[in-house]
Symmetry: C2
Subunit: 381 residues, 2 copies
Amino acid sequence: MECQEYGLTRNTERDNLNLNPLQRGGMLPIEARKALIEYADGYSVCDYCAGRLDEVPNPSISGFLQDLAKFINVDEVRTTHGARESKFAIMHALCEPGDTVIVDGNAHYTTHLAAERNKINVIEVPNNGHPTYEITPEKYRETLENAIDSGIDIKLSLLTHVDGDYGNLADAKAVGDVAHKAGIPIILNCAYSMGRLPIDAKALNMDFVVGSGHKSMAASGPIGVLGMKEEYSDALLKHSKRHKVKEIEMLGCTSRGAPIVTLMASLPYVAERVKHWGTEVEKTRNFVRQLEEIEGVHQIGVKPKEHDLTRFETPIFDKIAENHPRRGFFLYEELKKRNIVGIKRGQTKWFKCSVYGFSEEQISYIANSFKEIVDKYKDLI
Amino acid sequence: MECQEYGLTRNTERDNLNLNPLQRGGMLPIEARKALIEYADGYSVCDYCAGRLDEVPNPSISGFLQDLAKFINVDEVRTTHGARESKFAIMHALCEPGDTVIVDGNAHYTTHLAAERNKINVIEVPNNGHPTYEITPEKYRETLENAIDSGIDIKLSLLTHVDGDYGNLADAKAVGDVAHKAGIPIILNCAYSMGRLPIDAKALNMDFVVGSGHKSMAASGPIGVLGMKEEYSDALLKHSKRHKVKEIEMLGCTSRGAPIVTLMASLPYVAERVKHWGTEVEKTRNFVRQLEEIEGVHQIGVKPKEHDLTRFETPIFDKIAENHPRRGFFLYEELKKRNIVGIKRGQTKWFKCSVYGFSEEQISYIANSFKEIVDKYKDLI
Ligand SMILES: Cc1ncc(COP(=O)(O)O)c(C=O)c1O
Ligand SMILES: Cc1ncc(COP(=O)(O)O)c(C=O)c1O
């Protein structure tokens, strides 16, 4: 059989400054790269398995899970294939088809898909609209109470800790309190926070926290985290009737290979980097300040920024695009000439980006590049 | 936070001849190792995603899936996180809780778990017992007909192509015909076959074939294959109501990271190696012949072998263990001294092993090692 040429290189993304928020928190430190090479082959972590992935002694997955549980302050933790698979598993274990869950209006599409795959209805807490798109605990409470008053039995609630559209950091503790006052278990979706900033599930009054290794924990995809309070471990980690040691929701085992060793090797690095989250937020705010010096560039979402994912409305670039021979592609192409990638090709009305992990010097270079481009085309405005 | 030492090295398995059947088909060729390093970071395959993993043009996941579909002769194919996740998805899409499926008595525990997680009942086709433990098409038909006659509505059937206990190769075509004569869709679980031997889903009269990248396709875990006939793609690949392009059973996307690029990079290598399956079977038969020269070592399962996974009953080693100061550990320890690993520590009554991918010279060395050990302890027998 003749196979096609798949183009398995990633030079462009490696050789350039990549502003794609999706890619900033998943870059591996050297220890994780070493572990990846060591455990490249097939079922590499299963050599010493006695039937349970979470109890493998060598490499010490069991020790790692103890550390991970401490890192996010939960009673029990498992790895899954991603944040979405964690959400699916929780909903699957706690709900029946036809049940209703409440989620914030900034929830990721994977939250909706996890519910849809479980045939569960979703009630949404609206955000407060343009320009901050904030989810407030008051609105969460109001929406929840209205649903309950109208006779709907809410089985589960979810809050997106940091959403992927605006990079808003929600007030998790307050929403946790709202859910518990109504007697409803709550999931915190930490795909964009766990591994970037410190997470303390108990302090945030959360029953479940889910994380994404490839998104924010310096791990190879796909791998997720599913942390829970003791009282839910019977439901989530229920054993098979026939294969007594196997956990049903995990289908026996989940991340049986390379990604889990990268998550393990990265944990010390990640545990250290979350301590410097304040510096990252400062860098993001500096970046926003520099970009907003351009007339016609406005950060939207909550201000000042509390997370690196940043959305800008950029009518000025849209204006240039109208008159530029390359139309909307000019911005991507001009940035690329300056070794900057990660803004979608053709997009000029608005964009999302992140400078997480870049140095102040790189950030200034990026901000100046945007300014240069505006300057270059000032006649088209 | 102080992290424990996780012991992230795999020297023992790399520096020794590993007989563990689980590990023989998942070893990466050099192209896959290169791709793994290239795509180590987080969501590395998502740079050029326009919303659908299976349509990513760079690296060409879309081109790869076309090749993969040809390789196994199916109309549609997706990657999942493993064979078990493929089975779960099929059952989830086609069955309701309380439904009944029929599976062979040699089915892997993950088949049972996929059903249990879906709250589906399982009827089993018994194998023919010691010593061959064979699943015959006649028994499959009889069990299925009995179930139907007793009024049970069978929604789906499954056959394990090569089982993980005896390494028997089932007569898939004949069982496919049985299922279709009864109007029931059928899954072929090719975890131990796809990537080792040629699979032609249509020639085998199968509606679904599932594979395991880390087990038999020279890929990093976890990754699976889910191939299907056209007529089931509407059910399996149904789109979300709200997020129109996203496939519900895939939760939007599945293998968003490193394992998929190893599967891609390995496909040309795997497509080539399945052509030499006959040679692998010959090597296994030679190995069996050499081991059976030891009195008190018998291959069980179908004879002659049609697959590399081989189970031996070894009363002779059990006898030695009775009288050896190290008891059951002696075999593991003696093999280890000879740079052979992969037989479970403490196991002497029987064991499973595989010489897939070893040279004739290595195979003779392994067989002679077993003979040497028996010889060394002949006084204990
Ligand atoms: C807020 C949020 N949740 C969940 C996800 C999905 O994470 P995973 O790929 O681990 O399922 C994303 C990814 O973009 C996200 O932004
Ligand atoms: C016959 C069979 N099916 C399925 C599996 C599980 O494969 P995966 O890890 O891809 O889910 C195995 C693994 O041991 C197996 O032997």
